[in-house]
């Protein structure tokens, strides 16, 4: 079933083109089995990863027999095979009284969920592949007791395989496997044996955490940022160890927005089923208690994710997942939300196998379905990236200039480059030292959302340095705008909204529209063309000494257009929100 599903999935792409969730410098399995830097194209995590070196060795040996090469896709198919078969064996171990078809269906469904949600994400797949096997051997080792060295051997073996495959995330999947093992046979072993099982399962992942290297980090200045600012004070980083980045790399805002809906739906699904099962009581007590255990385990994992994605960042930064993430510098390279959400699905299918209660399964199915509907992904997208990945994540990586700038794309600057376009790297000189000039106010007519027609907009003239134009709202509501009419057509490349001393008055979101044919006083901007849209203003793009772009201070509002434009009118919209700071500027300059 897994083979068929995998082939169907990977084969459904009209062009057999590798579309990774993460980017790496190589695509060959052997090269990828050594530690190498990767960048996740959606949440921008920049981390060290390697494919299972043992498996890669076996694959290369097998491939050499037929004179071919194992591709990454084939490797992923193999992993999915292991995962699916492991899950099948695990589910039947949990409850073999039912027909095996249920275990097979649940395994296939789990695989489907993973592929739909995360696509060909080698990190997710690699993290999950040995999870059911580890849970199985751990459970058997607990049941066998301390006398069975064979069980202990297999436990250690699978734990090592898990560590090799899941790398720094193996500690999370190992803990989940142990929880599953505890739930599968809670009364079987004494505490002493359980300690041995826990030790054998956790030591290899712990060792991997110590050896995981930090990928080479670009030369960003200390106050730079490359992803959306979360508003959380201070530098959030692991307290222990020094192998950590000097700036935030993971796009927490994206993770929240991408996982919010699904997490909420899953939370409601689990809540309903938990309440329902608490009210109802089933006849088979042993099965019920185990089923309830997995239901609760799934609910707990969803709650952990919910505490990360459904609450403001200033609270979620202290939530359990974020805290566990910070316990190890190696673990801190990757967000835990995706893998923990996947674990909730694992617990869910385990529960369904034991309880034969399809309600949860149906609700999960509906949730995923709703997500896929809501996502409005372009055709063919789902077969590449998964619904939880960023919709346009591949655009920079698939740009025709990507090969030239691979070393820069494969860095924490990827998210920034992807939002601006690879042309940003071609125009580095313009971004590095843009020369904005004061405009000739003669004949220029300003108007704004306050209804002012010239009025206090004279403050933007250079002789009124220090005085400011302000969108009087007592905050930023997202509906403020400033319109500029030039007496003649101008060719410009950018505009600077100089904040002067009022550094906190930068626009929280900005959109720039132009029109070649317009009038000085206009109320309807429907015919205007959008040339720049930044829903969250991050700051002006600057470049490090080695050419890596980053966002500078937000107070410096230098909007550089993707290309020079000819325009008669310029409409600058403030599209963000701030309850405390108004949008104002003390100077208006253009980049020619």
């Amino acid at each position: 079933m897994a083979v068929i599903l995998s082939c169907l999935f990977f084969g459904a792409v009209s062009e057999m083109r590798f579309a990774p969730a993460a980017a790496a410098a190589h695509t060959e399995v052997v090269a990828l089995s050594k530690w190498h830097p990767e960048i996740n194209l959606s949440h921008n995590a920049y981390y060290s990863w390697r494919l299972d070196p043992l498996l890669a060795y076996v694959e290369s040996a097998v491939a050499s027999l037929w004179g071919g090469e194992f591709s990454l896709q084939s490797h992923l198919i193999l992993l999915l095979l292991f995962l699916c078969s492991g899950l099948y064996v695990w589910l039947n171990y949990l409850d073999c009284s039912t027909a095996r078809i249920l275990g097979a269906c649940l395994s296939a469904l789990f695989l489907l969920f993973v592929l739909f949600l995360w696509g060909q994400d080698a990190v997710i797949i690699g993290s999950l592949v040995w999870l059911p096997w580890l849970a199985l051997v751990a459970s058997k080792a607990q049941a066998a007791g301390s006398n069975c060295s064979k069980s202990m051997f297999f436990l250690l073996l699978v734990s090592c395989l898990n560590a090799l495959s899941a790398n720094q995330l193996s500690i999370i999947t190992a803990i989940a496997a142990l929880v599953a093992a505890a739930g599968s046979a809670p009364n079987s072993a004494c505490v002493g044996v359980r300690r041995w099982v826990w030790a054998l399962a956790l030591i290899p992942p712990f060792l991997v955490l110590q050896v995981t290297p930090l990928p080479p980090f670009p030369d960003y200045p200390p106050l730079a940022h490359v992803v959306s600012l979360t508003g959380v004070r201070g530098w959030v980083r692991p307290l222990v160890g020094d192998q950590t980045f000097p700036i935030d790399v993971i796009d927490q805002i994206f993770i929240k927005s991408a996982y919010r809906t699904l997490c909420l739906l899953l939370f409601l699904a689990f809540l309903v089923v938990v309440i329902r099962s608490a009210l109802e009581s089933r006849g088979d007590c042993a099965s019920n208690s185990r089923a309830t255990f997995f239901l609760r385990a799934g609910a707990v994992t969803v709650v952990l994710v919910a505490l990360d994605v459904l609450v403001p960042q200033t609270i979620s930064v202290a939530a359990p997942l974020a805290t566990i993430n910070r316990l190890s510098p190696a673990l801190f390279q990757l967000p835990l939300v995706p893998v923990v959400l996947a674990l909730s699905l694992f617990f869910a299918v385990s529960y369904v196998q034991l309880s034969r209660n399809m309600v949860l399964l149906v609700m999960i199915f509906l949730s995923v379905g709703f997500l896929s509907y809501d996502a409005k992904a372009p055709e063919g997208y789902v077969w590449r990236m998964g619904f939880l990945q960023k919709k346009n994540a591949l655009s920079a990586w698939q740009d025709r200039r990507a090969a030239r700038y691979k070393h820069i794309l494969l860095s924490p600057s990827y998210s920034l480059i992807n939002s601006y376009g690879v042309s940003l790297l071609d125009d580095q000189a313009i971004f590095t030292a843009p020369v904005f000039r004061d405009i000739d106010f003669d004949g220029v007519i300003f108007s704004d959302s306050n209804g002012a027609r010239g009025g206090d907009l004279f403050r933007l003239q250079p002789e009124n340095e220090g005085k400011r134009w302000i969108a009087h709202h007592g905050g930023q509501r997202g509906d403020e705008w400033l319109h500029v009419y030039f007496p003649k057509l101008l060719k410009i490349r950018g505009v600077e909204l100089f904040t002067g001393e009022f550094k906190a008055d930068f626009p929280r979101g900005v959109e720039v529209l132009i029109s070649r044919s317009c009038v000085a006083e206009v109320d309807d901007f429907g015919s205007y063309d959008q040339i720049l849209d930044m829903p969250i203003w991050q700051g002006s793009v600057q470049f490090s000494a080695k050419g890596y772009p980053y966002y500078g201070a937000q107070a410096e509002v230098k909007l550089i257009f993707p290309a020079p434009v000819e325009t008669r009118c310029l409409l600058i919209k403030q599209t963000g929100h701030s309850p405390y700071y108004e949008w104002s500027l003390t100077g208006f300059r253009l980049l020619y």
Binding site: V232, V236, V240, T314, V317, A318, P320, T323, R326
Partner: protein
């Protein structure tokens, strides 16, 4: 079954809780000032402390009235302070800059620790906490050495302290001495006032076997991560705190706050650090001496003699015991009757009087105490090159001199508290009541005195930097805080608390565990108090000095403070072996001070040249653009021979090395305490600074006043061709000669 000794709900418990909660919240309000919920710019909880103190005190008052009416005792309720801690946890305290616990993310680690606390209390495994000091010490020591990665600690005064230890190694016990390697001869005397002597004696076993640079980091690690927990643990044992009280006290000493690591790792005031580490132990032992009912043991007496000696080797620490000294005077007859007390006093006198005599007799203590300290700069004192120190007799320090001001109390306390561990700040108060009446009163008196010294009385003598007394206070407060926390946790176990009643105790455990992690982060340089190791520029500069000094001296133009690898120039004389000159090679300047005296600075090129010749300067380091431009503009006189940001080294082209201003001879050697020369004429004037305590092995030594600020050594009737050694008289010679 409930322990009858620990009834779950004794009568009056709620009233007692409310009373102490009112006190706790008032203390928190005073320390916190304006307070927001969770983070700044969320919701303001109270705009000022007074809005909270009044209702809180009212609640306390009502609680007391209720207890009095019902004739119930007012028992100590530590839980009330734990709930205050919960209030602190929910406030923006953890999100303020320079807070020891850097929020808001640290709340996660605290909650994780609290989860561990649930297990501890639920399964009554408090004995696990006994391992914490050991784990904490090992963790911090490993973190420190991982961070150092084989590099020498060189942050701020660490460079100077390292040099002082090296000089002590070369010159002990003849301290102070004459050091010709810096500034053509200085009176090198800062070994007693800085506590360097104490650190040297403590580290003598290591220093005598290994090179100073090999063991310096080890000494620092020992002072920062071993001595405080050992001292507090033993002190807690003396106070008979039940387990895990001593362990908690030891852990708290490792998590004192950011201020502790600022003084220890960043500033490098190791004498102060050693003194602070030993203060709790000494305070407990002095309190026990003054307690007629306490019997002193032989081991305790020996330990007290050693600890007290090392502690007072940072002399200012003695001032902390003034109240107890007066207390002891009233009880003198009873105190002297106690076993070993007379022996202790005699031994302390025997060991310490000699160095104290030397310190007061040779190091100008009186002059330092009576220094003129200017309170503000006038406009005319500000020059184009910045604020410059015109009159060297008027000193300026970190604090401004003025009369004691009670208004300083709260701001000073807030400033110190913001970097301190909230566990100590909140639990020390109830802990004082748990130490026993006698000890508790002595502790309370000392704490009050330290509080006044460190806040209100600071402006009286700014040169003493009395604000450091607050750090003493924090360190000593670990003991009562540990007593309170032990009681709370033990009661929670005994009473088998569960549910909401466990919230505050487990949060306390969370703070305790998170404190160690946070301390580790500080040691790994993940805080605002960054400290530095030697990265290469110091040794590179030493090499450049070796290659370019020739037979003369190298001078640092302008004013150098922390430009060299975030530390001072002092150890360069050791690393290079060459004589050097600078405005100051240690941290005794608070304002810009040029190396050239006034009379030479204003005289143009000729005067500069004359000064450089006067001191036999063969090359000059420059790091300020004005001086760099000056030397670069005279290529016929100065040649750029070495450069490493921000320093450039210029060799003097038209200079002949000669240490003799008048007469003929040659200087054979200079080391950290003497000059050896051979005179070819009977009368010579050498280019070394004169001091009255100098002596010559063969000539008549006197002063030759060259200019207002320059006094050189004149030697008369010197034997020709015979090696002559010039060095300082021994300290005892100087004292007896003076008397």
């Amino acid at each position: 079954m409930q322990d009858p000794k620990c009834p779950k709900n004794p009568p009056g418990q709620m009233a007692a809780f409310l009373f102490w909660f009112g006190i706790g919240v008032s203390i928190f309000a005073i320390l916190s000032g304006t307070t927001y919920f969770w983070d700044e710019a969320v919701w303001m909880v109270w705009p000022a402390a007074r809005f909270v103190i009044a209702p809180a005190m009212l609640v306390s008052l009502l609680a007391v009235i209720h207890l009095r009416r019902n004739q119930l005792p007012l028992t100590i309720n530590v839980d009330a302070f734990a709930w205050t801690l919960l209030t602190l946890f929910l406030s923006d305290w953890l999100c303020r800059p320079y807070n020891f616990f850097q929020g808001p993310s640290i709340r996660g680690e605290i909650l994780l620790g609290a989860a561990f606390g649930v297990w501890l209390l639920r399964y009554r495994k408090l004995e696990v906490l006994n391992w914490l000091p050991f784990i904490g010490c090992v963790f911090l020591i490993i973190s420190f050495f991982l961070e150092s990665d084989g590099r020498l600690l060189y942050s701020d005064d660490h460079s100077v302290f390292f040099y002082r230890l090296q000089l002590l190694k070369e010159n002990f016990p003849n301290v102070p001495f004459y050091n010709p390697l810096w500034n053509a001869g200085i009176h090198d005397k800062s070994y007693y006032n800085t506590g360097a002597m104490g650190v040297f004696l403590l580290g003598l076993p290591l220093l005598s076997i290994f090179r100073t640079e090999q063991v310096y980091n080890v000494l620092v690690a020992g002072l920062m991560f071993l001595l405080p927990p050992l001292s507090n643990y033993y002190a807690a044992k003396l106070l008979k705190l039940r387990a895990p009280g001593p362990a908690i006290a030891a852990v708290l000493s490792l998590c004192l706050g950011l201020v502790w690591y600022r003084w220890g790792l960043k500033y490098g005031t190791l004498g102060f650090v050693m003194s602070a580490a030993l203060m709790p132990l000494c305070l407990v032992q002095v309190s026990r001496i003054l307690d007629a009912e306490v019997v002193f043991g032989k081991t305790e007496a020996v330990i007290f003699i050693a600890a007290a000696t090392l502690m007072v080797m940072w002399p200012l620490s003695g001032i902390a015991f003034v109240p107890l000294a007066f207390w002891g005077l009233f009880l003198l007859p009873k105190v002297l009757k106690k076993k070993y007390v007379v022996t202790i006093f005699l031994m302390l006198a025997l060991i310490n009087l000699p160095w104290v005599t030397v310190f007061f007799g040779t190091c100008g203590v009186g002059d330092f105490m009576n220094l003129k300290v200017k309170s503000t700069f006038t406009r005319s004192e500000q020059t184009a090159s910045g604020l410059e120190h015109k009159d060297p007799s008027i000193k300026r320090f970190r604090h401004i001199q003025s009369s004691p001001d009670l208004k300083r109390l709260i701001p000073a306390v807030r400033e110190q508290a913001s970097s301190g561990n909230p566990l100590i700040l909140l639990f020390a108060i109830p802990g004082l009541f748990l130490l026993g009446r006698s000890i508790g009163r002595k502790f309370a008196l000392t704490f009050l005195w330290l509080l006044l010294l460190g806040s209100v009385l600071v402006p009286i003598k700014p040169q003493l930097e009395l604000d450091r007394m607050m750090t003493f206070l924090l360190m000593c407060a670990c003991l009562p805080a540990a007593a309170a926390m032990e009681k709370m946790l033990s009661d929670a176990c005994l009473q088998k608390k569960s549910g909401l009643s466990l919230a505050a105790p487990v949060l306390t455990v969370g703070f305790l565990l998170a404190g160690l992690l946070t301390a580790g982060a500080v040691v790994r340089n993940h805080s605002l108090e960054e400290y530095y190791f030697e990265e290469g520029p110091v040794l590179d500069m030493a090499q450049a000095i070796k290659h370019n000094s020739g037979e003369g001296r190298i001078l640092y133009s302008g004013c150098v403070l922390h430009q060299l690898n975030h530390g001072h120039l002092a150890p360069l004389a050791y690393f290079s072996g060459a004589p050097l000159m600078a405005s100051s090679h240690i941290h005794d300047l608070w304002w810009y001070t040029s190396v050239f005296p006034e009379e030479y600075k204003r005289g143009g090129d000729e005067a500069i040249r004359r000064y450089l010749d006067l001191y036999n300067v063969s090359a000059i380091f420059s790091h300020e653009h004005t001086w760099r431009d000056y030397f670069s503009a005279r290529p016929d006189e100065y040649q750029l021979v070495w450069e490493s940001q921000p320093f450039s080294l210029y060799k003097r082209l038209k200079h002949f090395d000669n240490y003799f201003l008048e007469g003929l001879g040659e200087v054979q050697a200079q080391n950290s305490s003497s000059v050896s020369l051979v005179a070819h004429t009977p009368n010579v004037v050498i280019k070394f600074n004169y001091f009255p305590f100098l002596k010559s092995s063969a000539c008549d030594l006197s002063k030759r006043q060259i200019s207002k600020n320059v006094r050189l050594i004149e030697l008369k009737n010197c034997p020709i061709g015979v090696p002559i050694v010039i060095k300082a008289r021994s300290p005892w010679e100087r004292i007896f000669k003076a008397t």
